[in-house]
Symmetry: C2
Subunit: 137 residues, 2 copies
């Protein structure tokens, strides 16, 4: 459903929201805890930082932290950095343009489903997910 990279990003953000209230967390620690490839995760976290989702600090005591309180961080803000959620994705038959006016055969029926998916990412916050978490992320 999500690309591998978006999934990594989401898991990392959840980890930060859960583990790191104040202290910054090193890539090393996160990669180990989540079993993700270290340098690949590093790049992903860097992108999240540039997008203002995380803040990073180098040197001793450095690492990554959320830049935003989890309550005000919709999942869409995380995953949309890596996966597209535009019209092109939302057309089931892959048309470059597919709207109410230029509808493909699947448009009317698929639109609702696609909108449900997007709404989930837009309306669900990182904090929402942690509420439901019974196990560590």
């Amino acid at each position: 459903m999500l690309s591998q990279t978006a999934e990594y990003a989401l898991r990392a953000v959840l980890y930060l929201a859960q583990e790191a209230t104040e202290r910054p967390v090193r890539v090393e620690e996160m990669a180990r805890a989540l079993r993700l490839p270290r340098n690949y995760l590093s790049k992903t976290l860097h992108l999240l930082s540039r997008a203002g989702v995380l803040v990073s600090a180098r040197g001793k005591g450095g690492g990554f932290q959320l830049a935003v309180p989890p309550e005000r961080l919709p999942l869409l803000r995380v995953v949309s950095l890596f996966d597209r959620f535009d019209d092109r994705r939302r057309c089931l038959l892959g048309r470059p343009q597919c709207s109410d006016r230029t509808a493909c055969a699947a448009h009317t029926r698929w639109k609702e489903v696609a909108e449900t998916v997007t709404a989930f990412f837009r309306q669900t916050s990182v904090a929402d997910l942690l509420k439901g978490a019974t196990l560590p992320v």
Copy 2:
């Protein structure tokens, strides 16, 4: 949302349902009409045939036809040949197993959304899509 290949397959099946009531359709014709790569489409159609969605015939007058009336052909039967719709896909955080018992942090909320998506593919038939089609597929 769907892989390129699953999307090609779906478009091809829709084309057959719309254009070919009796006569078989050649790959050449379909590739041209749908602007898909010819030999790649050929392989995709072959898989659909082996799965019993299409029937193929070689030689003059040959080509592909639906093996099943469009009313009794759920989209899932087409796309699940190319994309996975199992638990793994349905876990937002990519866990190998994620069920009500072994729930990830996103499970409860995501389950509904994922089920909406799967239900769409399971309950919508090829014929359903053609009903809504105002333009040629």
